[in-house]
Amino acid sequence: MSTAIAEIHEGPAESSVNYLNANYGIKSWLLTTDHKRIGLLYLGVITFMFLIGGTAATIMRLHLVEPQGALLEPETYNKLFSTHGIVMVFFFLVPSIPATLGNFLIPMMIGARDVAFPRLNLMSWYIFVTGCLFALAAILSGGVDTGWTFYPPYSSIYSHTPVVVMALGIFIAGFSSILTGLNFVVTIHKMRAPGMTWFRLPLFIWALYATSIIFILGTPVIAITLFLLGLETLLHVGIFDPAIGGDPLLFQHMFWFYSHPAVYIMILPSMGVVSELITAFSRKKIFGYSFVAFSSLAIAVISFIVWGHHMFVTGQSIYAGLVFSVLSFLVAIPSAVKVFNWTATLYKGSISYEAPMLYALGFIGLFTIGGLTGLFLAALATDVHLNGTYFVVAHFHYIMVGGALMGYLGGIHFWWPKITGRLYPDMWARIAAGLVFVGFNLTFFPQFVVGYMGMPRRYAVYPAEFQVLNVMSSAGASVLAVGYLIPLVYLTWSMRYGPPAGRNPWGAKGLEWTTPSPPPTENFEEPPIVTEEAYNYPTAGAVHV
């Protein structure tokens, strides 16, 4: 037994040249075509954008402790929630796992030297940075106050804020998504190592493949929607303005045609990470591999036909409502299948509780709550009452923060030793994970209650009867903020002072763990040949379930 585990940990002696020290100087980073360096370039930018979006949220929650508002004029509050939504959705969550962990890991996990189009990869980063710069320009010149949803005619005619600049920023960043998705699809199809068949791929790859399909099919639609909105705002002609015969609901249809699949862009990669973490920290193969793999694809496909559930109260026909409602229930099923399969993976495992596993387990619990509260919104009769209230806000934060963000943090911690060659202090990491879990629930659970009570969202001031729950939520937000800041400290510290990680500090299965940490530029000393299934951990005899 001990040799089986030891074999996974050790390997041939390390060489001292890796992708981090192979070249020095800013040019070697800004002109790199190495997918690992590009992943780190993305990590830097999206962390910066996360801090901006997070600052906006912190100020909002501080303001909301008072029913009449503690800090801000309504106009400023409106700009803050809009900035928070836009930055967090388009400039943090959508790129987060794909552009950082995806870029770093996909070639390594499939046994390739790099992605299919490395220069396109670098160009994607520059395009993303350009999009961020436009967004920052819009924020610095006052910020938009349209919400991240930009509904006309408010956004095109009535709002006197830099809508066009912000829309341009999102439009440009969208191309970064499209090219990344394209790169990933081609890489996964064409560059797998010998023996790496589709059904031997890690589930992280399946998840990113499904995500890339959504990138390719969905992002162009938001691009054209924002393009048309920008033209309408700029030129005062267009197709969404009712005064000249246009239809504002057409915007909503086009917007949500992308933005609903976009939420699956945000969650699917996290689910892929969770599959990796659960297996690694139970030392066990995933329960129901093909079910988890196919459910990723099912989610990606069905996600394109549910967008109307954002529009149940717009006065659309009852029949449209019925169709979108049943399809929205349908999309919940593959997610449920995943949750059950992850739970079953733990059965008779050998489970340890390092920080990545805590994040993964937190994900499963919080995603279950978030997903189930989605059913309240898929159900027509309850959605009428809950739409536009804090219930919706709580639902999507459970999925995006309790789910996607925790998966992202778990993945960053899990692969940090591989990326940097260093270990971080696990005690601090577990403390931070605990703070995040507690702070998160304290922040967002009261919002379910206050939403059902009738408190609408996007309100800068609110009736006094909602104050107690709002104060609870704001208290939770401060705990959550601390929980997010602590990793910034110890992860940065570990880059210089952390002990060397070795090839495989977790004893995990996967091609990326067979290389040195940090890996050499070309990833593998010798091109790997794959002979085993994914997650082929040694086991102690056969047991029937």
């Binding site: 998705g181 560059m191 162009p220 054209i224 033209l231 015969g245 086009m254």
Partner: protein, 235 residues
Amino acid sequence: MSEMAAHGAHEAHAHPPGFAHQFEDVAQQKEAGTLGMWAFLVTEILFFGGMFTAYIIYRSLHLAGFITGSHLLEVKFGAINTAVLICSSLTMALAIRSAQTGKGRGQIIWWLVLTMILGAMFLGFKFTFEWRHDYLEHIVPGAYFGFENRPEWGANAPYVQMFMCFYFFMTGLHAIHMIVGLGILTVLVVMTARNKFSSEYYNPLEISGLYWHFVDIVWIFLFPLLYLIGGLYKR
């Protein structure tokens, strides 16, 4: 698109000059490039498709205004441009054929340049004849749209302007793609001149051809939708 990373410190390969080293062999590179271009064209279908969908919806709601708008366009220019683009797709295909049959860079360049000339003719006709004419006739949407001159539009006037919005947005987006296509063709001419292609490896030409044909096909949808719907109805 195609990758041409510099050679590392490897032994000499029997790889053609365009080979990129993240791949195992030329066949893999060719397959990857082709799949990548098809995936990109799918995104373009969704991109144009959003606008086509909006156009179709509004046309079915406001047919009278759209017919009036369509009658403002000159079918003959649209038809000439359609013919020009179809010819350019032919010359593009012939360029690829020349590479495929190992005809030498002179011929390839000749067909590529001809394609560019035809593409430039398309853009020239569009900008100088059609759009300039539209500007002078006050049918460019916006502050100077000629509502006062056209009392016969009656209450359909907002939808005539909306049709012209779609006309300019859709043909404008198409023109941007044509310009990008001309840029790509320029790069291809340079690459051919530098002997990057042979009958074994001409994939960049082939996948650029896919792009060019796609832009052509978009026009073939645009032309009837914008210019010809009025033809079935009385003026």
